[in-house]
Amino acid sequence: MIDFSRVTVHYAETSEPMLRDVNLHIPEGELCLVAGRTGAGKSTLLRAINGLVPHFTGGTLHGTVTVQGRDTRSHPPRDLADVVGVVGQDPLAGFVTDTVEEELAYGMEQLALPAPVMRKRVEETLDLLGIAELRDRPLRTLSGGQQQRVAIGAVLTSHPQVLVLDEPTSALDPTAAEDVLAAVTRLVHDLGVTVVVAEHRLERVVHYADRLLYLPGDGTVIDGEPAAVLADIDLAPPLVDLGRAAGWTPLPLSVRDARRRASDLRQRLADTPAPPATPTPDGPPALTARNIVVRYPGTIAVAGVDLDLHPGQVVALMGRNGSGKSSLLWAVQGSGPRQGGTVTVTGPDGATDPKTLPAGRARRQVGLVPQTPGDLLYLETVDAECAQADRESDAPAGTCRALLDQLTPALPGDQHPRDLSEGQRLALALAVQLTAAPPVVLLDEPTRGLDYLAKRQFTAIVRRLVTEGRTVVVATHDVELVATLADRVVVMAQGEIVADGTTAEVMLASPAFAPQVAKVLAPQPWLTVDQVTAALAEAGTRG
């Protein structure tokens, strides 16, 4: 179906080729997962399939890419539209029309299909993806998961044999991600569509995949069975790490696989005491929020929330898309709307409400890094941003740069912030906000688009902030991150707090929020691979 023959892709501005001498054959009906670190060339590989590389992006492509016998050299993307369907990372950016039904029909209109065929396919696709009740809705009013399913539907109506998905679930909460992935696997199993999907959070997709393409970052592609490829690489979901720690071969890819083999491991761990819960701090809270209300026209985003944040704690804020997490963070910081309630921060200037302070002083009480950290950055170089941050915070020159060096060492100062990787940009935005030395730091979806290694780095950074006595709140959908990072978990739904407790209490109580390790080892209270490894080591020394 898809053939890469000696493909090398070279962009003008880089010295090293993005892909080097890649040979691939993806047969019909496979679900092929593409993994690799940020910037390793995943998007380049995906976009080469329908000719966007190099027809649209520029660069030079040597070798040949053929899809169903059509060479992308002679067929630009628009002439492959009936064979390959591409869905990008941000579905909203790719929508051309404004209602669901018209969006589904758009691709077929371009292919000049007759009207009765279009009508029939639209109805079929609405049912196939379970979006029939959304047909007249404006695209902008849909939730993230719905938008992603509409975007997939919009390319499916052209009946492509190949579906290319670039990180389809990176912005979605766990349940919405499951919906999208369930729709994708249904396409593979029922319609025999060949699917190529790139994903950072391997644990979500890897058990569905027939094949894994791993891009180590030097331009080569490692191609093989998922379990075999995962055994040798440093980029691995928690299940694989657990399998390695327990010495299982082949490595388990799904919770079901692992659970069937885990009875032995559970026995070995049975005598080991459960990991100690982080003690609840008894000192006065660093921030007290009472009865916070945030209202937007037509909706109540936050409905009377009370929240205490203690110094030295990492609090994870979870909940589905639109449950009011961001609104709560912005209201607490004081820059967002807040129709009711009080916030008291015990900061360097005594107890104050950041809302009543001018913006420049509020950020010394509570620092917030928004969902798109790039919004905070507007200068041409990293150095200029750092200098500006020092001026804004009346900090001695070099403070921001020193913080940045702690977070990610050796970031070239003359680089443009937009050219940084997601992780580096997040670190820069965080350093800018930390220059004001706020006792409370709020992070809105910080790990979106970060790979495992960047996430590990991020975890270390947050841990360091906490040992300095700050409070960190992380709003996130990433269950595995919360398991390794947070001391306390707060779950929101419909603007209210529905669960609040230690990480172990909240995460072990509900299957939706349980990390993979907990699912495998339930009813034992283990959350992370590190805990299990430590316990096994302890058991080993005793035994």
Partner: protein
């Protein structure tokens, strides 16, 4: 509530049936009309309004437009914009009256009150500030303002009844690329506003240092970078979904179509100028206009043939559309007839003060204008799209949720 007042009596004779069955007769199925039909109707009303300053037919025309909107609009966001046009109309009338009050204009004997006049220097001769206010003068302003407001409200009615974007979809194939660009631009505007708000909020997180040019740069750069990224993503998405698959047209033919359209449009411009300017030779007038139009249409047809794409659920021009558009044209024509028969009643003199009068012809104008409230197909409402049982309420009323059915069900009691 308007619906009940206008119960048309037809339902009275029908036996007790679900209210939908009556409207479900052939041709009366709920559907959205071709937007062009509503626009022709509205333009007809506006043309009629421009032919008179008599407040009675003007007020009746506004009422007619409002009634049609209330009975035949859908439940999409733009359908509720009509209220805005009514408010805007009221503002126009008020402005006209206030202007007459401030700047005078028009004489009159019935002075209502004396405002102190502000003396102006000699170079401003002819302009008067304040001074005596006559009833005739205010009434003249009111008539003028009402005429303008009525025309605006008629166009507002078209906007509420027809999806403006569907009108763009109905353009000929040759203009497809242009209409796509307009649609994309329309959807980009709210996105841009959204990103400005987002970045401004984020700026506050950095203490919003600096004012004026500095702050503008801090907002403009991320917003523009964002917009650029988004437009690239959109272009890539459109390309991979097959937009512009017609690239394989020979260059000669492309040049021919372009030349035809361009030459035709130039011809239309020259022809219009010739028609309006009496001093140019006659052949530059109407003949030139017709030749130019024909050339442009030929070019467009040729270009349209090269566009290889189909349309999903196109709006069809059926009998109902003809009726609605015909009502609009008839409104304008009857008003023009009324003007030639009895011009004085259409432009009631303000000096001396007289009561405006209605003539039978004017009533006919209004009757024709309001006819689509019954003749047009009912709109599709969200409640129609999902199957919904007809409820029998305890008091015996057959109830169903859409508003437009109220008249029928009330009649059946």
């Amino acid at each position: 509530m308007t619906d009940q007042a206008t119960a048309d009596g037809v339902g009275r004779q029908t036996p007790v049936t679900p209210p939908d069955s009556r409207s479900a007769r052939a041709g009366r199925l709920p559907r959205a009309l071709h937007p062009g039909a509503w626009w022709l109707w509205a333009l007809g009303l506006a043309t009629a309004a421009s032919h008179t300053t008599n407040p009675l037919p003007l007020a009746l025309l506004v009422a007619a437009a409002a009634l049609v909107v209330v009975r035949r609009r859908g439940d999409a966001p733009w359908a509720f914009a009509f209220r805005m046009y009514l408010i805007l109309g009221a503002v126009i009338v008020a402005m006209r009256v206030v202007f007459r009050l401030v700047f005078g204009g028009g004489q009159g004997d019935h002075v209502l009150l004396h405002l102190p006049e502000i003396p102006l220097p000699a170079w401003a001769a002819g302009i008067r500030l304040f001074g005596p206010v006559a009833a005739e003068q205010l009434l003249g302003g009111f008539y003028d303002g009402l005429r303008l407001a009525t025309m605006l409200i008629c166009l507002g009615a078209a906007n509420a009844l027809a999806n403006p974007k569907r009108l763009l979809k109905a353009v000929p194939g040759a203009l497809y690329a242009v209409s796509t660009a307009v649609v994309v631009a329309l959807s980009v505007a709210p996105q841009l506003v959204e990103s400005v708000l987002r970045v401004r909020r984020a700026r506050r997180l950095r203490g919003a240092a600096g004012q004026g040019l500095r702050a503008l740069r801090g907002i403009a750069l991320p917003v523009l970078a964002d917009a650029l990224d988004r437009s690239l993503a959109l272009a890539a998405a459109m390309d991979s979904r097959g937009y512009g698959r017609t690239a394989a047209i020979p260059a000669g033919q492309r040049a021919l179509t372009g030349g035809l359209v361009l030459a035709g449009l130039v011809g239309v411009c020259v022809g219009t100028y010739g028609l309006l300017d009496a001093t140019v030779p006659g052949y530059l007038g109407l003949p030139m206009l017709i030749v130019g139009l024909a050339t442009a249409v030929a070019g467009m047809l040729l270009a349209g043939r090269q566009v290889r794409r189909s349309r999903y659920r196109p709006d069809r021009w059926r009998i109902t559309e003809v009726v609605v558009a015909g009502c609009g044209v008839a409104t304008a024509v009857v008003m023009a007839v009324a003007g030639s028969v009895d011009p004085v009643r259409l432009y009631p003199p303000v000096s001396p003060l007289t009561w405006p009068e209605l003539t039978p012809l004017m009533l006919l104008v209004v009757a024709v204008a309001v006819a689509p409230a019954w003749l047009a197909s009912p709109p599709t409402l969200a409640a129609h799209r999902t199957p919904r049982p007809v409820l029998i309420a305890p008091n015996g009323t057959t109830r169903s949720s859409p508003k437009r059915d109220t008249s029928e069900s009330e009649a059946q009691r």
